[in-house]
């Protein structure tokens, strides 16, 4: 029954690497750095600049939403974005939202939107992007906005309450 087979393939390494200089505005502060062409924004933010909130659940496959950041007002998956493409962009992470005491943070704590907490920053950032463009969302709009973020602990119902409450607080209600 047994048979022999080579499964590992040889490839040409090391690959040629090109580099580029980028300037990022992250949470209001400017960072200038040289990045390799294959570095993702996620890698740069988490591993190079130390933004700890940028999580990785799916190994950079764009499946989980836990690396979401706001880039020029739009929520994006930083694992699916090359850092080189972000030159000159304004990036928001949850660290920035915490620093400015964004009402989402307190609402998230109050309604227990976290269990293990690994996916939580991605949700907060996605919710912030929603509230930026829609200050008075309906429940369904919140669910739709957050549908790309996976939470294995299943905290979903609590997020809706929090986002609606934060929206109300932001409106001064």
């Amino acid at each position: 029954m047994s048979k022999e087979k080579d499964t590992a393939k040889h490839e040409d390494f090391p690959e040629p690497v090109s580099e580029g200089k980028i300037k990022l505005n992250v949470n209001g502060e400017v960072y200038e750095l040289t990045v390799q062409s294959d570095w993702t924004l996620q890698y740069v933010l988490h591993d190079k600049l130390g933004f700890n909130s940028i999580k990785d659940m799916c190994s950079g496959k764009g499946e989980c939403g836990s690396c979401t950041v706001i880039a020029d007002k739009r929520p994006i998956l930083s694992c699916m974005t090359l850092a080189l493409e972000c030159n000159g962009k304004t990036i928001e992470t949850v660290e920035g939202l915490a620093k400015e005491n964004h009402p989402l943070i307190e609402a998230y704590i109050k309604h227990h939107c976290m269990q293990c907490g690994y996916c939580t920053p991605g949700f907060v950032v996605t919710a912030k992007a929603l509230l930026d463009r829609n200050s008075n969302p309906m429940e369904d709009e919140v669910r739709e906005a957050l549908a790309g973020n996976l939470c294995r602990c299943g905290t979903y119902p609590q997020h809706v309450k929090s986002v609606l409450e934060a929206a109300e607080n932001l409106r001064g209600g």
Partner: protein, 811 residues
């Protein structure tokens, strides 16, 4: 020996033993049970501040990757690592045939004369005994070689440069196929694929006489059920970080039992435990999946990281990617054959089952019939066949087979007799063959209130889902939208098998605030908040003045790790006992500072110590625990002997499902309303109602969070979560988060959580566990829900649209 003559150690031991009986609170509950208590880990987690193992980055750190078998069953004939070693950035390689690792055992270790590892259940049935072996028994098994490099990327590239000559061996994926005569035998040296844990006495259960009962029954039904593989799929892919400081070892592990990890690595490296620090930071989802410290994805990973950190002189992080993290199937990969006898009035008289497991865990399927029914005749035979799939482990939780079997038997019987399943549940509720009068007597004897938990749960649930209006005969209700409407109900006992062992100290700081001193890992179930609530109420201080920082310690007091079905229910008792002792010490000290007052004439409220008979006489805790030393015009600490009290608590026999003399008194009831599209086979969950009698909800929002989360995990397991192997190659086809479908926010309709509090739990203040109940109960309920909709049983889980269409003869 009387209590007074006991030594200090014996006193601690005696105080630590669990006493059977109701725990009626003797204190005023201010924080306990209150809503709006700010959760202790909330800010860290919401603000992105929480550090997970994956985030740990040390100066000079290298990244390690382990080879994972691409074959379902194969042996390494030869391996050439020269190209990998030549890749720039590669700093270290360990091969399976290197002298430092060759033949070295992984699973289990002796600690003194005792075998201390959980070398049990699913993992014990696999012949994976080496840290880095040369044979794989499932696709994705770590073996062969580990490489460390400057970056994860380089390490991964280097692994692809390793040239392996494999001898592919025959494999088998299905447990019933594995039991056939011509099936390839997987375990070396064995002549069959039948495997079973030798110490497990629960492989065969016989109570009463099922054959006689079948002859006398009004109705006998038979059916088969298959549950396919699903797994924990935690959010954070596992990793471990290791650094040597001289001959001291530091580790940061993604493990639920870090102290156990320390014991294992200590034994393996022959390094004293006192030279090892093991920290478990926040863990991105574990659910028991990171609760097997002995296996190759925990201990094995730690050993390899430690060896490479030593040889390279650099910190090393070994990590899994998402695909590599898809291991550890839940222990309910099973095929079950059932025969059930019942009377026309719904009384179940006999249950017989034969369950064939693939990589068996430890629950055969019959146990909940023993635990909480009056059914007199039971028979269960369990067979386990080894297959070419990863080992099973208890993933929230090992009771899955028991819940599946209970739900299907009860709903099948109700259907066969044309009865309301809630009535059948009430008709058979009981304990170990006894009816409710037996439990009533027990409750009275041990001081519990005598309430009918199941009846209360059912009444609340029926009302919430409008059962009496909406429940109908199977396949009888087509909605105007063309979909078939289905309703289903199931029930079980609550997860009150509180067992575990823990210790903690309570220390009153010099400013009067209170520290709980103990190590514990975190998996997100929020026990820390509850500990602080308990200590606040027991001591009479504000919740805000109590804190616990479990990651600060890696030795000393240790609360029961958050697994083994026990967290708050044993640890709540630990902190409660320690707080009671600390309060006595505090009042003894305080008595010296009031005039002519003994300690028992004092009490504490809102952080103030006062004379009970004259409440206007009061002092702050700070005034009592410190003494001013004005001569130095500065503060001098510990001028009083510190108020520190510690306690130990133990209950239940670790690893046993039932403890003699402690029947389960609490019940849970679950209801689902669904719509099934008969053309597309899609199942839409319109509403779920969970009713959990948790005895006492110490943190109600936490209880609700577990009920919500458990429902999502449970519905996923019932509807869409299935790990699929390619039949031709034995390779996992969907080990990723796109094709292994866990629920998103859009998936299911509203979930209603109803908390019952009858105070009949065996935990602190009458509480019981909640984390495992809902995700274990909900999956099975999808079968009855879809049956009620379409009138056809689908006993092949998960119940996917394809299986619905097949049942309808449309696929």
């Amino acid at each position: 020996m009387t209590q007074d003559k006991k030594g200090q150690y014996e006193k601690i031991q005696a105080e630590g033993q669990y006493q059977i009986g109701a725990d009626i609170p003797t204190i005023t509950l201010n924080e306990i049970g209150k809503r709006g208590v700010r959760r202790l880990d909330g800010y860290e987690k919401a603000s992105g501040n929480a550090i997970f193992t994956r985030d740990v980055k040390l100066p000079g750190m290298l990244y390690g990757k382990i080879l994972m078998s691409p074959h379902a069953h194969a042996k390494i004939k030869s391996m050439d690592t020269s190209n990998a070693e030549a890749l720039p950035g590669v700093r270290g390689v360990i091969r399976y045939d290197d002298p430092e690792i060759k033949g070295k055992m992984l699973n289990g270790c002796y600690f003194g004369p005792e075998w201390v590892c959980p070398d049990i259940a699913g993992w014990a049935l696999k012949p994976i005994h080496l840290v880095l072996g040369d044979e794989a028994w499932y696709e994705g098994q770590p073996l062969g070689v580990v490489i460390v490099a400057d970056t994860e990327d380089i390490a991964s590239k280097a692994l692809r440069l390793v040239c392996v000559q494999w001898e592919e061996l025959p494999f088998v994926l299905d447990q019933e196929e594995a039991l056939k005569q011509n099936a390839p035998v997987l375990n070396p040296g064995a002549d069959t694929n039948v495997v079973a844990h030798p110490a497990d006495e629960r492989l065969v259960t016989k109570k009463g006489d099922v054959d006689k009962a079948f002859k006398e029954a009004d109705k006998v039904i038979e059916f088969r059920v298959k549950r396919n593989a699903h797994l924990w799929a935690g959010a954070e892919p596992p990793s471990t970080v290791v650094r040597w400081r001289g001959d001291n070892l530091e580790m940061w592990v993604h493990q639920q039992q870090p102290y156990h990890a320390k014991m294992l690595i200590s034994e393996w490296l022959n390094l004293p435990m006192t030279k090892i620090s093991v920290f478990s930071l926040y863990q991105g989802g574990a659910y028991g999946g990171r609760g097997n410290p002995a296996n190759n994805s925990e201990n094995g990973m730690n050993i390899l990281a430690a060896l490479l950190a030593k040889s390279t002189g650099r910190p090393v992080k070994v990590l899994y990617n998402r695909r590599e993290s898809f291991y550890g199937e839940s222990g309910d990969m099973m095929v079950g054959y059932f025969k059930v006898g019942a009377k026309n009035d719904g009384t179940i008289t006999a249950v017989q089952m034969k369950n064939i497991f693939a990589v068996y865990m430890c629950t055969p399927g019959i146990e909940h019939f023993i635990d909480n029914t009056r059914i007199p005749n039971l028979s269960c035979e369990t067979v386990t066949a080894d297959v070419s799939k990863g080992p099973a482990w208890w993933d929230r939780c090992e009771q899955l087979p028991n819940s599946l079997c209970l739900t299907l038997v009860f709903d099948r019987v109700a259907d066969a007799l044309g009865l309301d399943p809630t009535e059948v549940a009430l008709k058979n509720d009981g304990c170990d063959g006894h009816d409710m009068s037996y439990l009533s007597e027990y409750k009275k004897k041990h001081g519990f209130p005598d309430r009918d938990s199941l009846k209360e749960c059912i009444e609340a649930g029926k009302k919430a889902i409008d059962w009496d209006e909406k429940w109908h005969a199977p396949g009888a209700k087509m909605l105007p939208n063309g979909k078939m409407h289905g309703m289903a109900f199931t029930w079980d006992h609550q997860w009150d098998d509180v067992r575990g062992t823990g210790s903690a100290a309570i220390m009153i700081e010099n400013d009067g605030t209170v520290s709980i001193i103990a190590q514990q890992s975190d998996i997100g179930v929020n026990p820390w908040t509850a500990y602080c609530q308990i200590v606040a109420d027991e001591l009479g201080v504000r919740y805000e003045d109590v804190n616990i920082k479990p990651f600060d310690l890696d030795h000393g007091f240790a609360l029961m790790s958050p697994d083994g079905s026990a967290c708050l229910c044993s640890n709540g008792n630990v902190v409660k006992k320690a707080a009671k002792k600390a309060k006595m010490m505090l009042l003894e000290l305080a008595a010296q500072k009031f005039e002519d007052v003994k300690a028992d004439a004092l009490d504490v409220k809102d952080g103030l110590i006062y004379v009970k008979a004259a409440p206007e006489k009061k002092k702050t805790i700070k005034e009592v625990v410190t003494k001013a030393m004005p001569m130095f015009a500065s503060c001098v600490f510990w001028t009083e002997a510190p108020v520190i009290a510690w306690a130990w608590h133990t209950q239940g026999l670790w690893g046993e499902a039932m403890e003699t003399g402690r029947p389960r008194l609490l019940r849970q009831a679950h209801f689902i309303e669904a719509e099934v599209d008969p053309e597309l086979g899609e199942i839409e969950i319109k509403k779920v109602v969970n009713v959990n009698d948790v005895g006492k909800a110490i943190s109600p929002e936490t209880v609700e969070g577990q009920m919500y989360g458990g429902t999502y995990m449970g519905l996923g397991r019932g509807l869409s979560e299935e790990l699929i192997w390619d039949e031709q190659t034995g390779v996992r086809l969907n080990a990723n988060l796109l094709n292994y479908k866990i629920a998103t926010m859009l998936e299911y309709g509203p979930i209603e959580t109803i908390i019952q509090e009858t105070g009949m739990g065996h935990g602190p203040y009458g509480a019981c566990g909640i984390g495992e109940a809902t995700p274990t109960m909900i999956p099975a309920l999808l079968g009855p829900a879809v049956y009620n909709a379409i009138g056809k049983w689908i006993d092949d889980y998960p119940i996917t649209p394809e299986r619905v269409l097949k049942a309808l003869g449309k696929a």
